[in-house]
Symmetry: C2
C-alpha cells in the first residue's frame, strides 16, 4: 500500500494537506483561496453546527439570515472597523455581464455604490437593530446566523484560512453594559465547553490584548488551542462591542428611566477553521483521527474472508453484530434502504446523524483498513472466520491503535456508547497532557525567546503594551494569544520591561 | 386593535406584505432587492431544511459546500447556460477598498478575471466532478448543497423573488441516461411529497416546455402550486441535464465497456420562495396560518384573568395543562430554563424543534390573541377562571377559526399530535379543493382567454410550440406551467392551432 501521507516530523504542513486529501475532506477550487468542502468534510461541519446550534438555542438565541452584500458606506461608519476590513474585501461593482468583441464575458451595468461581500455583519445587524429596537422591552435581542463570509486573504490554507469560509456570527443587543459583558463571557463559555466536550480540544479562555482585538470591539475574548506542532490556534472569539456599533448605526431605545440611550452590543463567532483545529489536534501519521462524538461514522465493521463459504458465514455474523450494536429495527431499516449496496449504513443515533457501516465490498482487508483509518473512523470491528467460531470480534481503536478482543455477547448500543465515551474522554485528556507538557513558564525575555524557539505556549508576567508586543512579534514571530482568565494572583515583573503587572500572558506562534 | 393587515380582496399584493410584516417574517434590507429573514421567518426555513434534508439523506444524498464565486470563463462554457444567467449576475471585480480624496471608500486591486456570485452552481460542480470521477465505480455522485445564491432581479418581492435567496441545489452524476432520468424524477417526487405532506400545499407534477426549461437542461420538470389569488407558483424544479454540462466540463469516466464516456447529470432545487408559497396558500385576512408540521410554535396557552387571585389560580392550572400536553419532564426542563421569563417555552419534539408556549405576559387577552393569530400558531388554548372551575379549556384552531371545548383530562401529547394531524390533513384538503374549484378545462382559445381572465388553472389540449406559447403569453400573460404527468390518454386538437396532440397542458398566470 503506497504511503500517501507524509509524517508530521518530516513535513508538518504537507502532512496536514495529505490528511485532508486522504480523508477527502476538502479540495482547492478554481477560485484562488476558495475551497470546496467535500461531503466527508461537510459532515464534520454539520456535526459542529448541530451541537453548537443546540447550545445557542439553550441559551435563548434564535437564528436569522442577513444579506450577503453590504454597502461600502456602512463600513465607513465605524472607524476601527473599516481599518480592519477594507484591505481584504471582495467588491461587487456590476450587476450583469455582456460579451465583448472577442466573445468573452465582461462586467456591465455598474452599480451606483459598490457593495462588499460581508467579511462579518456587525454593520448590517446594527442597521436592522436600529429599526427593530424602540424600548427596553424589545431587549435583549439575541440573534445568530449561520453564513458564508469572505476575506481576501493573501496566504490561504484549507480550513484554517480561506478567502471564503463558513461560520456562525451571533449579534446581541442589551440594555446595560453589564448584561452585554455577561453575554460576551457566556458565549465564550459555550465555545469553551463545546470545544472540550465535543471536539475533545482543550482550550484556554482569556482576553485578547488591544493589538489583537476585533476592529470595533471594546474587548475581545478568545479560546486558544494548541496544535500538535505546538502552535496556537484561535478557535473562537467573543466581542464586547460596547456602544461602538450602536452609536455608528444609531441603535437607541427608551430606557426604564424614560431616557433615549444607545444599546450595548456583542458579537461572537466560530468558523470552519474549527475543522482545521480538529484535524491538527488529533490526527496522526496514518491520517485523520476523529473524536467519537464528532465522527459521522462511529464504527466500521470489516468482514475478513477468502472463500465463498467463509464470506457467507462471516457476513451473516457481521449482520448479527451490526444488529447487536445498533438494534434490530435499525438494522432492518438499513437493509431495506441499502438493499443491493456493498456498504450497509445503520444509524446509531438519527438526531446526531451517527452511524455504523458494514463494509461488504470485495477487496483486500488491508485496503479496507486503510480506507477507514484514513477517514478517522473511531472504531473498526474486524471479523474473520475464526472470530465467528469463537463468537468474538476484534475492536481496533483508531486514536491509540489498540486492538482488543471481545465476546460477541457484549456488543450492544450501550457498550458502543461506553466505548465512545471512554475514547472521547481519553482524547481530551491526551490533548490536555500534550498542551501541559508543551507549556513553560518563563521569567526573562531571554528565556522566552529560547522557549518560543522550541515551540509551545510560553506563560509569563506581562504588562500589556502594543509597542512591546510589536517588538516581541518582530523578534520572535510570537504574539500574545490570551491573557488567561486563570491567573496566579498577586503581581510580578513584566519579563520584557520589568514593570510591575498583575497579569500573566500566554505567548505562542499562531495559525 | 388597529387593523394592520389589508384584506385579500382589497389588495392581494399588499395583504401578502402585511402578513409578512405582522408575523415578523422578513424585512427589506439596505441593499436593493435583498431581504433580511427575521427569526420567525428563518424558523420556517429551518423546519423546511430539516424535513427536506432527511428526505435527501434517505434517498442516498450527502451534503457538501462549493464556493460562492464562479470565474466568468466557467459560465461561457455552456452556451444556453450563459444566455440564461449573464444578464443578472452580481460581478466581483476588485479585492479591496481604499479611501478616495473625499475620504470615501472605493474599489481597488482589480482582479485578473471577474468573478460572479453563483446564480446556480452547475459549472462549479461540473469542474470538480471532472476531477473526482474516473471510473464507473465512482458513480453515481449524489451531492446536495444548502447555500445562498444571487440573481439580480429587477422586480423583487419578499421570499418570492429576491436578488439573494437561500436554496438547496442537488447535483448528481450518473453512468447512464436512464439512471439520470430516474434520479430527476425521483427528486421531483421527493419535492411533491414534501410539499403536500409537510407544507400542506398540493402540487401538480409535470414537464416544462422548451421555452420554460432551465438554461442548459435537456428537460426540466417542476411542481406547480396554486396560490389564493389563483396564480401559479413554481415550487421546485428538477432538471435532466443530459451530457450538456459533462461535455462542457469534461466529466468523463471509464465505463464497464472500457470506453471513456461523458457522465449524465441532473440538478434540482427549491428555495426560500417556498416560504412565500406557504404564506400565500394558507394565510387569511387575520394574518399568517401555518400547517401544524411546519409551525415552530404548535400551540400557545393563553391564561385569562383579572384579579391577582384569578391570576394565581389560572396560571397554576395552565402549567398543569402544559405538563399534560408536553409531559412533566419537558415542563420541568422549561421551567428551569425560562425561570423568571414571561414566556414559558416547552418542547413537544426536540428533533423537530416544535414547542408549546405558555404566555404569562401582562396585557389584555385580546392583544395576546392577535399576537398568536398573526404569527400563524395553529392552536390557541384559552383558559379563564371559569374554565378552571370546570376543569376544561377552549381550543381555538387557527386555520378555520373554530372554537371547541375540551375536558382538561383529554389533554395529552397524543391528543395534541392527533389535533395537529387532523388540521394538517384538512389544510391540504382545503387547498386541494380550492385548486380543483379554480381549474377549468377549455376547448377553444377563446374559452382559454376568458378563463385566464377569471384566474386559476386552465387545462387544455396543447401541441407544444415556442412561437404559439409566446403569442399566448403576449395576449394573456399566461404561460404553460406544466405538461402534467397525469394525462387523460388518447389525443385531442390543440386549442390554439387545431393540430393533433397527445398532451394536455396547464396554463396560468404565474409568480
Amino acid at each position: 500500500m503506497a504511503k500517501n501521507i507524509v509524517s508530521r516530523t518530516q513535513d508538518y504542513p504537507q502532512w496536514y494537506l495529505d490528511v485532508i486529501k486522504a480523508a477527502e475532506l476538502a479540495d482547492y477550487s478554481p477560485v484562488r483561496g476558495c475551497m470546496v468542502i467535500r461531503p466527508a468534510g461537510y459532515a464534520l461541519w454539520e456535526a459542529i453546527q448541530r451541537d453548537l446550534d443546540r447550545r445557542f438555542k439553550e441559551t435563548g438565541h434564535v437564528n436569522a439570515y442577513f444579506p450577503l452584500l453590504i454597502p461600502v458606506s456602512f463600513l465607513e461608519r465605524e472607524a476601527q472597523h473599516v481599518e480592519g476590513f477594507a484591505m481584504e474585501c471582495a467588491v461587487v461593482t456590476h450587476s450583469s455581464l455582456e460579451k465583448d468583441e472577442t466573445g468573452h464575458l465582461k462586467a456591465r451595468s455598474e452599480l451606483p455604490e459598490p457593495l462588499v461581500i460581508r467579511p462579518t455583519s456587525e454593520t448590517l445587524f446594527g442597521h436592522m437593530y436600529a429599526q427593530w429596537v424602540q424600548s427596553y422591552r424589545d431587549l435583549p435581542v439575541l440573534i445568530n446566523q449561520w453564513a458564508n463570509v469572505m476575506r481576501w486573504e493573501m496566504r490561504t490554507r484549507l480550513f484554517l484560512r480561506t478567502a471564503e469560509f463558513l461560520w456562525q456570527e451571533g449579534h446581541t443587543a442589551h440594555e446595560t453594559a453589564q448584561e452585554a459583558q455577561e453575554e460576551t463571557l457566556r458565549m465564550l463559555g459555550v465555545y469553551a465547553s463545546f470545544a472540550e466536550d465535543f471536539l475533545a480540544v482543550p482550550v484556554i479562555q482569556g482576553r485578547k490584548t488591544e493589538s489583537e482585538k476585533f476592529p470595533g470591539a471594546d474587548t475581545t475574548y478568545a479560546i486558544e488551542a494548541m496544535m500538535q506542532d505546538r502552535k496556537a490556534l484561535q478557535a473562537g472569539t467573543s466581542h464586547n462591542l460596547g456602544q461602538n456599533f450602536a452609536r455608528a448605526f444609531d441603535v437607541k431605545f427608551l430606557g426604564r428611566d424614560n431616557q433615549l440611550q444607545h444599546c450595548w452590543t456583542t458579537s461572537w463567532g466560530v468558523s470552519t477553521r474549527l475543522i482545521g483545529a480538529l484535524i491538527m489536534a488529533h490526527s496522526d501519521d496514518e491520517g485523520l483521527v476523529l473524536p467519537p462524538r464528532v465522527a459521522p461514522t462511529l464504527a466500521a465493521i470489516v468482514p475478513i474472508f477468502k472463500t465463498d463459504d467463509e464470506k457467507e458465514k462471516v457476513l451473516a455474523y457481521c449482520r448479527e453484530l451490526a444488529g447487536a450494536l445498533c438494534g434490530a429495527e435499525r438494522l432492518a431499516a438499513a437493509e431495506k434502504r441499502d438493499a443491493g449496496r456493498e456498504l450497509l449504513t445503520i444509524f446509531t443515533d438519527e438526531a446526531a446523524c451517527q452511524k455504523v457501516v458494514l463494509d461488504m465490498r470485495e477487496g483486500r482487508a488491508v485496503e479496507k483498513h486503510y480506507h477507514w483509518e484514513q477517514r478517522g473512523v473511531p472504531f473498526r470491528l474486524e471479523v474473520g472466520p475464526r472470530d465467528v467460531d469463537k463468537s468474538a470480534f476484534v475492536l481496533k481503536t483508531r486514536f491509540d491503535g489498540s486492538k482488543t478482543f471481545h465476546e460477541k455477547s457484549c456488543a450492544s448500543p450501550d457498550w458502543l456508547r461506553e466505548q465512545a465515551d471512554q475514547v472521547q474522554a481519553r482524547m481530551l485528556e491526551r490533548a490536555r497532557t500534550f498542551r501541559e507538557e508543551n507549556t513553560v513558564v518563563v521569567e526573562s525575555y531571554d528565556e522566552m525567546k529560547a522557549a518560543l524557539a522550541q515551540g509551545g505556549f510560553v506563560r509569563c508576567w506581562f504588562r500589556e503594551d502594543p509597542e512591546v508586543e510589536a517588538r516581541i512579534k518582530e523578534e520572535t514571530k510570537a504574539t500574545v494569544r490570551v491573557i488567561p482568565f486563570e491567573q496566579p494572583g498577586g503581581t510580578g515583573k513584566c519579563v520584557v520591561t520589568g514593570r510591575e503587572t498583575s497579569e500573566q500572558a500566554i505567548f505562542a506562534l499562531a495559525y
